[in-house]
Amino acid sequence: MLRLIATIRKEWLLLLRDKAGLALLFAMPVILITVMALIQDAPFKDYQEVKFDILTVDNDHGRLGRYIREGLGNSGQFNVIDSLQGKPVSETTAKSLIGEGHYKISIVIPKGSTAEIVSNANKIVNDISKRMGIPAQLPVKAIASDSLAVQLYFDPAAKKAFKSAIRQALDNFLTQVQTDLLLERIQMQLRSKDSTATDTFPAIKLKAVGLQETNLGKHQEIDVISNSVQHNVPAWSIFAMFFIVIPIAGNMIREREDGSLVRMKLIPGNYLSILAGKLLFFVGICVIQFYLMIAVGIFGMPLLDLPALQLGVNHWAGFITALSISITATAYGILIGTIFKTPNQALNFGAISIVILSAIGGIWIPLEIMPEKIQSIGRLSPLSWGLDAINDVYLRNGDIRFILQDITRLLACGLVMLGIAGWVEQRRIS
């Protein structure tokens, strides 16, 4: 026990005197998670959450134009811009501004649109009335225009998914406007036929069946929403925790190079107790690192107008996950520090391998959107096991049973790596 405590104290003193090492362990990860959460905030938000400037050219000057502008404005998704520097936006100006990338979307409402929609609604109502034996009363245009369409212009650099989402949102909105007009015409026809002017008609309810979303987590009252902070803070925390391989491997190779390792091995007693002290110290550092970053997620992110990190309800499960990730990360550091002979080899391999394991393990982008083959490989990454377990606890409010498989994998992987390191070290002696 004395050897173990002495080693922990020695490592603590060494770390305190290594200012660059301290920065690498604590300051850099905090900067990393903050930057990643900020820059990935927009892509993580649903299109409904984002407000887009939409250049609106109203050549109709009728009811449709007004409906569309009001509707777009009220939807909360768009900032309707219909004039620039006090002048109404023309189609030519809109096309030019979109083409130059100053705006992402423009909508052009063609002249006569209102008349066309009203006429179409009237025609439908007249047809229905006629079949019901009611004489057609509403005015209809003699010749319907087939080529009339609300024109959309997109920034050429806009992504396909973005275009598709916007087109669908606008299409839904246009359908809504046309449906509203149709219902209004039906009400108008019914009122003129059967009632006095004082009659009130009940509003026609179009949606008989709606949609309802229910949280399937164990604690349904806690609805944690996946967002940039919820993904990036735990994901990049795991990434940063694995970067502990750099100080561990550096520390071990330095001890081998300067001969202090030899001195430790010359002292009677099991070297494993010294190694256990080192392991415990760095596992502790990893756990502190993790909770420091979690604290930044909870208290720091709201200061940057980002949502606060939610930890779910099973804090012990979260702690066990953090501990398991820390053990695996530290074991990986010990393995690299044992196998490689020079700091350069160890640091380069360590850093690059973590970047690869994190990329395929779903740290950068969720594993689910990767190609199937990469997903299969990615599921072998310890970082993906860690992230899965964290998501189970933080997003699904899962308890220890949810994470059992992932933490078993993490700990087994850590044990295998320590076993290999021990075998390599033993071979060195023999």
Partner: protein, 248 residues
């Protein structure tokens, strides 16, 4: 009783074309200062590594104070030996006191007793004022002296030193040699390797010269010089047995 008895020691490192030790045999009497000498690549470091259990011998036997070194007795032997490696095997970011307290803890010492022991040795080696200074900021001589203290914290019966005076000034060297004599006078055995043969001649009562993994000659330095009329000192004897060819 012998402090060290080595018999038919063979060792070939994996991947090496030639053996490092090829039937090496020698023994040193207990309670003496003795020298293990040889040119570069002679097998001194391998021999020391086997003596202290860091490297396994291919074959042959090693006895320390008549205790045969095997897996079951390796720990017991470690308690009897103190090794001063050629490298400064200390943590440069830690102070001298922190280094020595850490190694003292590993030996099982703790508390006030350890603190007193460390302070006493630091004073003895003229490092009392530098106790709280980081070892990385020490001069070469100060590092060597701290390196020696780290090996004697458990007061071993056998102290093995690999080039303990390499790269130190005259004053530090004198202090180290004086300490070795005093340590030996307490009844402890000292094995010393060095390329400074005048130093070996000055302090060693017995020397073993090895080359190419084998013992070349062993005896008292003065007797060896006398046996070779053409040789004026131990260096001449050494060159007589190991030749003038430069070693890598």
């Amino acid at each position: 009783m012998t402090s060290i008895a080595v018999k038919d020691l063979y060792k070939t490192y994996s991947g090496a074309l030639t053996p490092s030790l090829e039937g090496l045999s020698f023994s040193f009497p207990e309670g003496k200062i003795v020298g293990l000498l040889g040119p570069n690549g002679a097998g001194k470091t391998t021999t020391i590594s086997i003596l202290c259990g860091l490297v396994k011998a291919g074959s042959g036997s090693v006895k320390i104070f008549d205790i045969t070194q095997d897996a079951s007795r390796r720990e017991a032997i470690k308690r009897l030996i103190g090794i001063v490696p050629q490298q400064i095997a200390l943590f440069p970011q830690l102070t001298a006191k922190e280094n020595l307290c850490y190694f003292g803890n590993l030996y099982g010492f703790k508390g006030k007793a350890l603190k007193q022991k460390v302070e006493q040795y630091l004073e003895m080696f003229g490092l009392g004022n530098a106790a709280d200074k980081e070892v990385g900021k020490f001069s070469g001589g100060m590092k060597r002296r701290t390196n020696i203290i780290a090996a004697i914290l458990h007061e071993p019966r056998l102290l093995i030193l690999d080039e303990p005076t390499a790269g130190v000034d005259v004053q530090s060297r004198s202090m180290i040699l004086q300490f070795l004599k005093e340590y030996n006078q307490k009844g402890n055995s000292v094995v010393y390797t060095s390329h400074l043969l005048d130093e070996a001649q000055q302090i060693c009562e017995d020397v073993a010269i090895i080359d190419e993994g084998k013992l070349v000659v062993q005896g008292n330095p003065i007797d060896l010089i006398k046996q070779h009329p053409a040789c004026r000192n131990l260096e001449d004897v050494f060159l007589h047995y190991t030749g003038h060819a430069v070693r890598d």
